[in-house]
């Protein structure tokens, strides 16, 4: 039912704050100025103008109930009852015009391609260590460098098959890469489930909007995994190796297994005989060709890495080395998402591809460089300081929010172990209208797109938009008041 909205009715809305919605202190995704909406958001704005508060409340309630009913939850750690929670979902979608997306997509592919070439170099010819156009020390000292993987051949020379790159937008709305996640990036299940849930709850918002679909992700993932199978003839047997149901992302593991139709396995389901990997089935052993693993390198094989691992498969590395089984992602990709290396990624792009980076980095100071170290120590109160080998925002310092004592403590930590720290200026993250009751307010967001690489590269349109739900909060992760949004790439 097409809706003609008269100019008169456009002025008021049942959603408080929508008519006069405007950017706060940062770049806002929807509003250019108070009450001035960017073109890509006009259609959505019109739908929202007409939203009936009762209908809205019903829709929201049904959204929550459906997440809970479907078990779309994450496991809360350090809780003896193994509590599961839903990841809060904000119904107002984040919109990206196709033109903008096309550029992002190019930038992502470029970045992943360069990172794969880098890994091929590090674990293959090791020219980068001899030519020294970046400090070899950065690589040698990387926590996630796996010397066991040196000389290992991987299909199509691809190491990072599933990549989640975190993007943020600064003051002027320019997209910047915040972090590369080349180990086990998570969150794609929410992209698919958010879309499904929003379509069910508010189908009218999708009318007259050309939203790029996302539900082919399962098929794309399966195709990617098939492309790296070492099997010459016949259908490859592919499995997803999960740490188990107590892992926070277990829902995603089982979700992806269902989407792709591959078997969800735990370490105890697999064993290695000779150089081949088998799974234990009711009809006897069955050979496995590809493992999409969601456990860390350290836990993959107790014979090669951590001896106390109960999650892995003894002898797995031997089978990988013999080329009898492929892992996605490959072993040792963590050296590419090390935060000290991050600073050099634009340089990697130039070196390996002869191109300038399409998506810039956030300016970064390396504590391992004497000049940068001095700057960091003097300006810590203005900076964000991060450990290089952690992800998920653990152990970092936000200068402007820190006490003098915390800053002093971080100074001594950085001094003691400069290799392990980087610092970045504080950037005003973009904001997005977010729903609180019947009120619309701006909240900070970021974006995690997903890139699949096998023989071909496939980018999921959009990605996961995470939002800091608490006012003024900078935290977007699931356990600390973060939520997510559906993300639309719009063919306008």
């Amino acid at each position: 039912m097409p809706k003609k909205v008269s100019k008169e009715s456009k002025r008021t809305s049942l959603l408080a704050g929508l008519t006069r919605y405007g950017p706060a202190k940062a770049f806002d995704e929807m509003a250019e100025g108070r009450g001035r909406v960017r073109r890509v958001y006009e259609g959505l704005r019109d739908s929202l103008q007409l939203v009936d508060p009762v209908r809205l409340a019903e829709g929201r309630a049904s959204l929550e109930a459906s997440f809970l009913r479907r078990g779309i939850t994450f496991t809360v750690y350090n809780d003896p009852h193994g509590t599961e929670r839903i990841f809060p979902f904000d119904p107002l979608p984040r919109l990206i015009p196709l033109q903008e997306w096309t550029r992002i997509e190019k930038g992502l592919v470029q970045r992943v391609t360069a990172l794969n070439l880098f890994l091929q170099d590090v674990y293959g010819a090791q020219k980068i260590l001899q030519e020294k156009w970046i400090p070899a020390e950065i690589i040698h000292s990387a926590k996630h460098l796996r010397r066991e993987a040196a000389g290992l051949k991987v299909p199509h020379n691809v190491y990072i098959h599933i990549c989640g790159t975190d993007l943020i937008r600064g003051d002027g709305g320019e997209y910047m890469v915040l972090e590369d996640n080349g180990r086990c990036p998570s969150g794609v299940s929410y992209v698919l489930e958010n879309r499904r849930a929003l379509k069910q709850a508010f189908p009218e918002w999708f009318r007259n909007q050309a939203v790029r679909p996302v539900d082919h992700y399962g098929a794309d993932l399966l195709e990617t995994l098939r492309e790296i199978s070492p099997r010459q003839e016949g259908e490859p047997v592919i499995v997803l190796l999960t740490p188990g149901p107590m892992n926070s992302a277990y829902f995603e593991h089982s979700f992806l297994a269902r989407q792709t139709g591959i078997e969800l396995v735990q370490g105890c389901d697999l064993f290695v005989e000779g150089q081949k990997v088998f799974m234990r089935t009711t009809r006897g052993p069955r050979q496995v060709d590809v493992i999409y693993r969601r456990i860390d390198d350290d836990f993959l094989d107790p014979l090669a890495f951590r001896k106390d691992s109960v999650l892995g498969v003894p002898g797995l590395l031997r089978a990988v080395r013999a080329g009898q089984v492929s892992l996605a992602n490959a072993i040792g990709t963590g050296v590419a998402d090390d935060k000290a290396l991050y600073a050099y990624v634009p340089k990697l792009i130039r070196h390996y591809l002869g191109e300038d980076a399409i998506l810039p980095n956030v300016p970064t100071f390396l504590a391992s460089q004497p000049k940068d170290l001095k700057y960091i120590l003097q300006n810590m109160a203005k900076l964000v300081v991060k450990p290089t080998n952690e992800s998920g925002g653990y152990g970092l310092l936000i200068g402007p929010h820190a006490t003098k004592k915390q800053i002093a403590e971080f100074r001594s930590r950085v001094r003691k172990d400069p290799r392990n720290y980087i610092a970045q200026p504080v950037i005003a993250l973009s904001t997005h209208p977010t729903l609180f009751g019947n009120k619309v307010e701006p909240r900070h967001i970021d974006l995690r797109p997903f890139v699949l690489t096998g023989k071909k590269t496939r980018v999921l349109p959009g990605g996961l938009t995470r939002v800091a739900l608490r006012k003024g909060s900078l935290v977007v992760n699931s356990s600390q008041g973060g939520g997510s949004k559906d993300t639309w790439v719009l063919d306008s």
Binding site: S186, P243, N247, R258, S309, S391, V476
Partner: protein, 332 residues
């Protein structure tokens, strides 16, 4: 199919069936207790013994009474085999093999769990346990129905049915045991009526047997009836059929022989008090035979070695795995 998945399906089914049967036993006792004249307490030790909870109950330090026992069987945290504990485990198993269930099956089970366990279960029990027990039975039936109408008839469906029939063959024998062990002053007619009711068998029995209820007829029906879905005979025959279907070709003869041997002993079940083994002895050995059949099936049909890691190490390592979900955004 993965052996662990087969095991999971088998146990989801067993736990759901177990929860249902606990609800059946407890409900009948609870209703009987309402009919009783003041001062005449039911024999609660019989139901505890039949449901295998007497030791846990003794350890809990509670005094047997209608409330204490039914609460204990239903949700007490000190009872590892309570209804809620069974539902917890059914769901935990289902979550473990979530990818193998249809969405509808998972949602049905998850909905039952959300409703019957945790704080909403507490709320539901406030209105009386009878209503709660009805919901437990309904949850089980909805899960079976959803399975029948959404899951392909293959190995997965077979493992679920295998668990259900095996558990039921065991549970019906426990219900029989509970009634025959009762030492309270319950009238014979009342006793056998209660027995039939706990098996949803009263109406079916009545269509074929008029006249007063008597022990021989009721026992014969619940033990030997070839078509009643909760009889011992039916449970065993179905278990055997499914197990034969699932077994590797070279094991089929063996499974048939095993089931036939148990069936032969079933024909000698005592239906009246008299010489020879008592009903209680017979039921006890029946339960042991089913257990050894289950062990055989675990070894040969589900697949031998299935060692899940030691729980605390397993949990802490699972929690250590980085899933790179991203963390706080350190920006203003």
């Amino acid at each position: 199919m993965l052996s662990r998945v087969a095991d999971g399906l088998f146990w989801i089914s067993r736990y759901i069936e177990r929860a249902e049967n606990l609800a059946r036993i407890a409900d009948v006792y609870l209703l009987d207790d309402l009919d009783r004249a003041h001062g005449r307490e039911a024999d609660w030790s019989a139901i505890l013994q039949a449901s295998g909870a007497q030791d846990d109950f003794a350890r809990s330090g509670l005094t047997p009474s209608a409330h204490a026992v039914t609460d204990f069987l239903t949700y007490d945290e000190k009872n590892p085999n309570s209804i809620t504990a069974c539902l917890d485990r059914a769901r935990e198993n289902a979550r473990m093999i979530r990818d193998q269930l249809t969405t509808e099956m998972w949602e049905e089970l998850n909905r039952a769990w959300l409703k019957l366990c945790g704080s909403s279960g507490k709320l539901l029990r406030r209105n009386g346990l009878t209503g709660y027990f009805r919901e437990v039975r309904r949850a089980s039936h909805l899960f079976r129905g959803t399975t029948a109408s959404t899951l392909s008839r293959g190995d997965a469906a077979d493992f679920l049915e295998l668990g259900m029939y095996l558990e039921r063959a065991d549970a019906t024998s426990r219900i029989l045991e509970a009634q025959s062990l009762r030492k309270d002053q319950i009238g014979e007619e009342e006793r056998w009526a209660a027995l039939l009711r706990s098996c949803s068998a009263r109406e079916t029995y009545r269509t074929n047997h008029q006249g007063p209820l008597e022990v021989g007829g009721v026992l014969a029906f619940l033990i030997h009836d070839p078509s009643f879905p909760r009889s011992l005979h039916y449970g065993l025959v179905q278990t055997g059929k499914i197990a034969t279907r699932l077994a590797q070709p070279h094991d089929q003869v063996e499974v048939e022989a095993l089931v036939l041997a148990i069936r032969a002993r079933l024909t000698r079940a005592p239906l009246n008090e008299g010489a020879g083994p008592t009903l209680a002895q017979f039921l006890d050995s029946w339960q042991k035979e089913l257990q050894s059949l289950a062990d055989w099936m675990r070894e040969r049909i589900i697949g031998g070695k299935l060692d899940l890691p030691e729980r605390s190490a397993w949990r802490s390592q699972q929690e250590q795995q980085q899933q790179n979900f991203g963390g706080p955004l350190p920006w203003i």
